[in-house]
Symmetry: C2
Subunit: 402 residues, 2 copies
């Protein structure tokens, strides 16, 4: 006996190279897990407690938003307005703006406050089909506040019935307490902060910023090595403003993803192909920061590097909570194909979140996380700049209020 | 006795040069018209049938979307996917794609069908705060179908209680029936189609495409002259792919707006400043078409040309129904300031729609078209890439279901 059976759906399974569409298809759920799926013609005689007629609608895996900074306090809207009025980033930093403003506000907030602030953000993402989300630390930049951010991320997952993957991003800027002592800061992260976070079970992935701005690529290795010793998957922000060889460095570490990559070299990309490192595309920040360069999509394609997509939701460079917009920007702005974008926000994103083969597909044995869309074809999800929300969202077999 | 009184609001009146904020303010409505507004401290003793506590929320004029091709049949999603897969526009046109595909589908649809297809699009726009909309013809390209598009636009207005302004856009491409005879087509429009549309009261503005592609700038004058003789305001699409002097030509005609303008010259812009012609910014199409060039915002600013913003909703170059995204793209993509963007989608857009001083502001005597937003400051409406919909939408004093 199945719990739920969805009939007459167009299943976008993400199996194989493309979208793996089965139509007309059916999908059965038992104990929150996909128990059967296939063509209607092969539907077994098993009964179901509840039957749902999908009416020919498209049924896709829930989106996996594998790069977000969802937990933060304060806002940067005044700064945004000042910048468009002509103020430089340097001027804003001198006035106490920029990332340190977010750090200050985040440090001042309790875990419960962080959760309360981030909850409506999470709901916005979920209302457009996100069923798994990665959330980073990185605005605390000291022991207590980094742990509080990760605790908030875990609590958001528990309270909202959504799978949350946490990334430890202590190392992307150097906090004021360690000004001029970036190596000491990395050692502190590796020897004090990360172990404390691990002891509390707060970290799933170790992230970092390899940009040669405040933390040097070789300094990042202090933390990455500690993380790998602890068995954590690695990822990093890199090559966003210039080629620092970061994508190659991440490939050499066997990272699950290298993120941004506007300036990555072909040698780095070839290395990523070898290591199976995913190229995480974040068009929201390229647009918001008015950066002149797009990532080398053609090179990723030519070398067989899989591309993922994410909101990169954060207050300073990518204030977006719209998965559909991210799909549209992936295509219209970055020139990914709709198939690349849709795979990039599901099955490939799962890899980038350290969950390869565990979410982001329709497959027997995987959690029943899927979304019904009112569309004529899958590419329509990428076509509209700001599309319409889905008809129904199911997490672990259970329908969600939108 | 007022019908409705809104108290404790932050009123964004759009009076003066900036946003004209009054806080805390109150606004009273009588017979669908703004009967009083001002600071709470000056609130008259007049009673109201209904009182609404705005709780300090921002109350803005409804958006005026003054450039849309909302009425069309068929879709261009397959074409979008083929293009991202590497097909050229020429190949797609040879396969029957492009604007002629939309023309064919639109010609095949009845007025009621066109209305039925466009209604959910209109609802999407209204749900994000649009209270006045301009809708163009231009996919019919023959007498009956052009008139049907305009009839559909009028019907959309009547059925949805929203003010619709119609633009006659018969002249932007030459239909197959007049292939190679663009001058004859323009004469036909001026002598047959426009008079028929006017006789039925279907046209508020005369639009056109001045791009030197299929219709030459001097040919457009055949229609524009006929339109001006009939007392219609003029506007046009121009200088999108190269400088054809179109913005200057429109300024010389005293046009209400010149639209697109990526390549307009400084001389044209100086002429627009003199004639009071609004520069209509359409970032959706620049993004979707992956065009390399942005319009010369700085020149508009320097010469004192007012900038408007619109969705430009259409299936081939700007598939967007999100006013909030348009505000965000106006700022993050085109580098307008939030004040310019917000004025550009209200008071300046009213000018571009031929409704200067009639909508797009909070002022006594104007229709009570306004929207309550859950934001910390007006710039927040431009900050999020894909923001949250408003809390309440009032058209002619009456609350709308969202």
């Amino acid at each position: 006996m199945f719990d739920d059976l969805w009939t007459d759906a167009r299943l976008v399974t993400m199996q194989g190279e493309g979208l793996g569409v089965i139509e007309p298809g059916a999908l059965a759920v038992k104990d929150g897990v996909i128990a059967w799926l296939g063509p209607m013609s092969e539907l077994p005689a098993t009964e179901a407690k509840r039957r749902h007629h999908a009416g020919g609608r498209f049924l896709l895996p829930g989106f996996v938003d594998a790069h977000t900074h969802l937990v933060f306090a304060g806002d940067r809207i005044g700064e945004f307005e000042r910048q468009l009025g002509g103020a430089t980033r340097k001027e804003l930093a001198a006035e106490g703006g920029g990332i340190l403003a977010t750090m200050k506000a985040t440090r001042a907030a309790s875990v419960d406050e962080l959760v309360a602030i981030a909850t409506p953000r999470l709901h916005r993402l979920m209302s457009e089909g996100v069923t798994t989300i990665e959330i980073k630390s990185g605005y605390g930049l000291d022991l207590d506040s980094e742990l509080d951010m990760l605790r908030a991320a875990r609590q958001l997952g528990r309270e909202n019935g959504i799978r949350v993957v946490t990334s430890f991003l202590g190392a992307h800027v150097v906090p004021p307490e360690f000004a001029g002592r970036s190596r000491d800061y990395l050692t502190h992260l590796a020897e004090v902060v990360l172990p404390a976070a691990l002891a509390e079970g707060l970290v799933d992935i170790c992230d970092g910023g390899i940009e040669g701005l405040s933390i040097q690529p070789d300094e990042m290795m202090i933390l990455y090595r500690a993380a790998q010793k602890a068995g954590l998957p690695i990822k990093g922000h890199t090559d966003q403003y210039g080629d620092v060889g970061g994508a190659g460095q991440l490939a050499a570490l066997g990272a699950v993803s290298a993120d941004h990559l506007e300036y990555s070299s072909e040698a780095s990309i070839a290395a990523m192909a070898k290591s199976g490192t995913v190229a995480m595309m974040l068009p929201g920040s390229t647009l918001f920061l008015h950066e002149p360069r797009r990532p080398p999509i053609d090179l990723f394609r030519r070398h067989g590097v899989s591309m993922a997509l994410a909101t990169n939701c954060n207050p300073g460079s990518s204030p977006t909570l719209s998965p559909l917009l991210v799909l549209a920007l992936g295509c219209s702005f970055f020139r990914m194909t709709p198939v690349e974008a849709l795979r990039g926000y599901t099955v490939v994103a799962a890899h980038a979140a350290g969950l390869a083969g565990k979410v982001g597909e329709l497959r027997v044995g995987l959690p029943a996380d899927f979304v019904l869309w009112e569309i004529g074809q899958p590419a329509e999800l990428c076509y509209w700049l700001g599309g319409a929300p889905p008809r129904e969202i199911i997490i672990r077999g259970t329908g969600r209020e939108r």
